[in-house]
Symmetry: C2
Subunit: 190 residues, 2 copies
């Protein structure tokens, strides 16, 4: 019978996610990870294989959590109210490593290199965009937004604005709450 | 009499800007720069001092060029039309290393580290935002937008949306031209 590992794999992935999210791919060494997760090189290798394999797991976790949170909110308060709440939520999210979206940060850092983690981040951003489109579509079916809008186009613009908002929320000279309020109130005009 | 250096300093700064813009700070080594600029370590040191000092010069160049281009456009076509043209311009700009804003990329990469280049990038983003606010103010004085808007708030939202647009323009799954058109047409409702 294999010996049960003496660590909580989920907790380690969450910890690694926060390090990558804050420091980026190039800014995080294998040594940084081994030290932070308190794993010897051999144990790290046995648990995760490589820095890139662990990074991919953290991206997946990050994206799944984001989709699950938004969908739960939509079930609770309806699609349009969830879309209006999301901008406030992403900049209010308590103790996050940074407000900027981890998927966008990864993509911006690695896409020019042709790195496969950029493709993975891109795939997760597409999932997120489709989740937004689903909610715009439901809001339209419920008569909460006009019938002439294309839900996919609304979703692409909305996601773009949220990415900008999340970058803006990192800045000291910007009132991100005002920007979030303006993104939300734009949805009332649809 | 000091010997004239046998290189074009401005051209080297532009070349370094494109490398940093594409690869980021951590992703660019001193060796990368020396090789690309075709400078020996001693000449590099004599010309620029350090990687960080050169990075700061490239940020300054990037920001100055951006402000100058927008202000020239505003002089030519008026403030509101320039603000409406800008979203299209930033994603159409021909052979750029990446569509993402270099200032935002730098800030996102280095702010969590407390690196002084993040402060410099932030300062340049403030200059850019003030430039947007000036144009919104002029548009308001010209009666092109309503009197009840706060030009500074409009500028912050506009800059945030442009940052999002520029990230979005890097993605294959997104029609950035549609997003740019939607940002521009929002300005007509002000």
């Amino acid at each position: 019978m294999p010996r049960k590992p003496s660590y909580d794999r989920d907790a380690l992935i969450a910890q690694a996610r926060d390090i990558f999210w804050r420091q980026g791919w190039a800014g995080t060494s294998l040594k940084d990870l081994e030290r932070a997760l308190n794993l010897k090189p051999g144990s790290f290798y046995a648990a995760f294989g490589s820095k890139d394999a662990l990074y991919a797991l953290t991206l997946e976790r990050y994206a799944q959590d984001g989709v699950a949170r938004l969908m739960a909110m939509a079930d609770e308060m309806g699609p349009l109210r969830a879309l209006k709440a999301q901008p406030h939520l992403v900049i209010d999210a308590g103790a996050v490593p940074t407000h900027a979206c981890m998927l966008a940060k990864t993509y911006a850092e690695l896409q020019a290199k042709g790195h496969e983690l950029a493709d993975k981040a891109s795939g997760h951003m597409v999932e997120m965009k489709e989740c937004f489109a689903t909610l715009f579509r439901r809001a339209q079916q419920a008569g909460e937004i006009g019938p002439d809008h294309d839900p996919d186009r609304l979703a692409a613009r909305y996601q773009s604005d949220i990415l900008g908002l999340r970058l803006s929320a990192e800045r000291n000279d910007v009132n991100a709450a005002e920007i979030a309020a303006d993104i939300a109130s734009d949805l009332d005009r649809l």
